[in-house]
């Protein structure tokens, strides 16, 4: 299976902002936030197309997300996930004595996951936190 090493960034998008006001259990929030934006050349190197699923793994966890071609390219080697439940599964809670975890610039690995599903909010909460 092809794998690609990337630097993972998380951040705001306007759709994520609108989605959170519509409700974090809304379909809009799920479809706009449970995604990973990648450079088209990175998609080519993984042999995948937009809207296929990828598994993103860091030292702290892994999650399956729908991949979309970034409108903010070029940023080859950089993957971008909007802030939210899905992104934070991948983050370390180490704050280095500042109170702030590192949510940007985290080393990660991306691989195609055509057989796996992107978890919805309630499924994710059940899977990771048992409630």
């Amino acid at each position: 299976m092809l794998k690609l090493e990337v630097t993972l960034l998380t951040g705001r998008t306007i759709k994520q902002g609108v989605g959170k006001e519509l409700g974090k259990l809304s379909k809009e929030y799920y479809s706009d936030v449970a995604v990973c934006e990648m450079d088209s050349r990175d998609l080519d190197s993984l042999g995948i197309t937009e809207n296929s699923n990828v598994k993103i793994t860091t030292r702290f966890g892994s999650i399956v997300l729908r991949v979309i071609e970034s409108q903010r390219s070029p940023h080859q080697g950089v993957a971008y996930i909007p802030y939210g439940l899905w992104a934070n599964v991948l983050m370390s809670s180490d704050t280095g004595g500042t109170g702030m975890p590192s949510f940007k610039g985290v080393p990660a690995e991306v691989q195609p996951a055509p057989e796996e599903e992107v978890m919805e909010v309630r499924d994710l909460l059940k899977h990771f936190y048992g409630k």
Binding site: T7, L9, T10, G11, R12, T13, I14, G17, V18, E21, L22, G23, K24, L25, S26, F60, G61, S70, R72, S73, P74, H75, V78, Y80, Y83, G84, L85, N88, V89, M91, S92, S93, D94, T95, G96, G97, T98, G99, M100, P101, S102, F103, K104, G105, V121, R122, L125, F128, Y129, K131
Partner: protein, 481 residues
């Protein structure tokens, strides 16, 4: 016959811009049209009454079930009183009046009170406490700034009206909007994309769609202004800018220090710094020195990446260096509408802006030790109250595990992933829509928020919910001293 009411001006309770020029058209206690707001503000006013709990919920046999207010308040007070080290977290999307009540409660139960700046601009606050800050109000920038630098932030997405109201796309008293220049660039870019699409079909030669300006344009007119973006991605804000510098992730610190060297007339003996050619840095340094009034707006691109508060130290120090040449200012782009107010009220009441620990009977502040993520990651807290925030979505997994593994009270108008995991859910009104209050804009200007809709029957404000819990806690204390 429809009875429509128009209310305005209304202040928007979404982000730190606190845009105070909104106009709402209301019919039957429902907002049907929002004028002047961004997409996020519009969504909040139009959809605030959807998908929300209207009665308290208590977890029984693993399920959240409806409960009376008396039972839910009683249960919350008992949970907080029986905890050895409770954490009271959130506070940035509620009013200053509610924050004040929350601090009283934290002191009463001997807990830790921390607000969302801990995972936002907490490192900026640490840095400002270390090195100070030269800042201003947004009105000054609107009227006077001729160089605006957005560093590690994307206001187009996170503060959608910031550019239009306060910086490059607004007409100030002494500076004109530069939106016409942006419009020309936008149409040129669209044209180039069309040419590329045609060329993709007809030939193998593909013209570049890269529109990064190779050189920083000189100040075009006396009254004009320039906008520069430094970021790890070409954001929408970068598309709107006159000049964009794409820095490598986790290397803002080096870039800021290199700029400081150039400002101090020292020589950089390298070809590039953090992925940016030194010639481009020299152009930016020249523009910074030549401007009449410049400002750096910085975002969590600096506070959440490697270096954190040290990145902000470097940015503030750069501004300090620049003030030997010209007038330069710096301001953090605060996210939630009252995160600044949460810091301000906490500082009035306790002496510290966030991460305040009352477990010793007096306020102790030591981020890294008394901050929410650290307390949760170490498994130190044994109960939590979360208000106007959603840490289950926003904290790393290890911290969330401990948050949801202990008794959890949630006060929020909306159903969120955190409220789904709670043991007690106390629904509240939307501040700035159903409840009046005070909020602080990102430049520390306090603004009143209006009540424009009646809340659902029985739903009260965050401040009232906290007041009832506090009364109950005090009552229980008297009964069992």
């Amino acid at each position: 016959m429809k009875h429509l009411t128009t209310i305005g001006p209304v202040t928007c309770p979404v982000c730190g811009c606190l845009c105070d020029d909104l106009e709402l058209i209301i019919e039957d206690n429902t907002v049907i049209q929002v004028k002047n707001a961004c997409a996020v503000g519009e969504a909040k006013f139009l959809d605030c009454q959807q998908n929300r709990p209207r009665t308290p919920l208590i977890r029984k046999n693993g399920e959240l079930v409806e409960a009376s207010w008396d039972e839910a308040i009683q249960r919350s007070a008992e949970m907080l009183l029986s905890a050895r080290y409770p954490l009271l977290y959130g506070w940035s999307s509620t009013s200053c009046e509610a924050v004040r009540k929350g601090i009283e409660l934290a002191e009463e139960v001997g807990g830790v009170i921390d607000n969302t700046s801990t995972v936002c601009h907490g490192p900026s606050i640490l840095s400002i406490q270390d090195v100070g800050i030269s800042s201003c109000t947004l009105g000054q920038i609107r009227h006077r700034a001729d160089l605006v630098v957005y560093w590690g932030c994307d206001p187009w997405s996170a503060h959608p009206r910031h550019i239009e109201r306060y910086t490059a796309f607004t007409d100030g008293r002494y500076r004109e909007s530069s939106w016409r220049r942006y419009a020309k660039r936008y149409y040129a870019r669209q044209l180039l994309k069309r040419v590329q699409r045609v060329s993709n079909i007809t030939s193998k030669t593909v013209p570049s769609t890269e529109t990064t300006t190779d050189h920083l344009p000189s100040f075009p007119k006396v009254r004009d202004r320039l906008m520069v973006v430094v970021d790890v991605r070409r954001t929408r804000t970068a598309d709107a800018a006159d000049y964009f510098l794409q820095v490598k992730p986790n290397s803002d610190y080096e870039l800021l220090q290199a700029l400081r060297m150039l400002i101090r007339q020292e020589v950089l003996d390298v070809d590039e710094v953090s992925g940016i050619p030194v010639e481009q840095l020299e152009e930016l340094a020249d523009a910074m020195i030549e401007c009449e009034l410049g400002i750096i707006f910085f975002g969590v691109g600096l506070t959440m990446s490697s270096g954190k508060n040290r990145n902000v130290d470097a940015a503030i120090s750069l501004v300090r260096d620049l003030n030997k040449w010209t007038k330069f200012l710096i301001m953090p782009m605060r996210g939630h509408f009252n995160v600044t107010g949460a810091n301000v009220v906490s500082t009035w009441q306790t002496g510290y802006p966030f991460a305040v620990d009352f477990s010793k009977g007096y306020p102790v502040y030591n981020p890294g030790e008394t901050s929410a993520v650290d307390i949760l990651s170490r498994g130190e807290s044994d109960a939590s109250l979360v208000i106007a925030s959603d840490p289950v979505s926003n904290f790393p997994r290890e911290a969330v595990k401990n948050l949801v593994g202990n008794p959890l009270i949630v006060i929020d108008p909306l159903e969120t992933p955190t409220s789904l995991m709670a043991d007690v859910v106390l629904p509240s009104t939307f501040v700035g829509i159903e409840t009046e209050g005070t909020a602080y804009r990102m430049d520390h200007v306090p603004l009143p928020l209006k009540k424009v809709l009646e809340p659902p029957d029985g739903v009260v404000s965050d401040e009232d919910v906290l007041h009832r819990i506090l009364d109950h806690v005090r009552g229980l204390r008297k009964e069992a001293p």
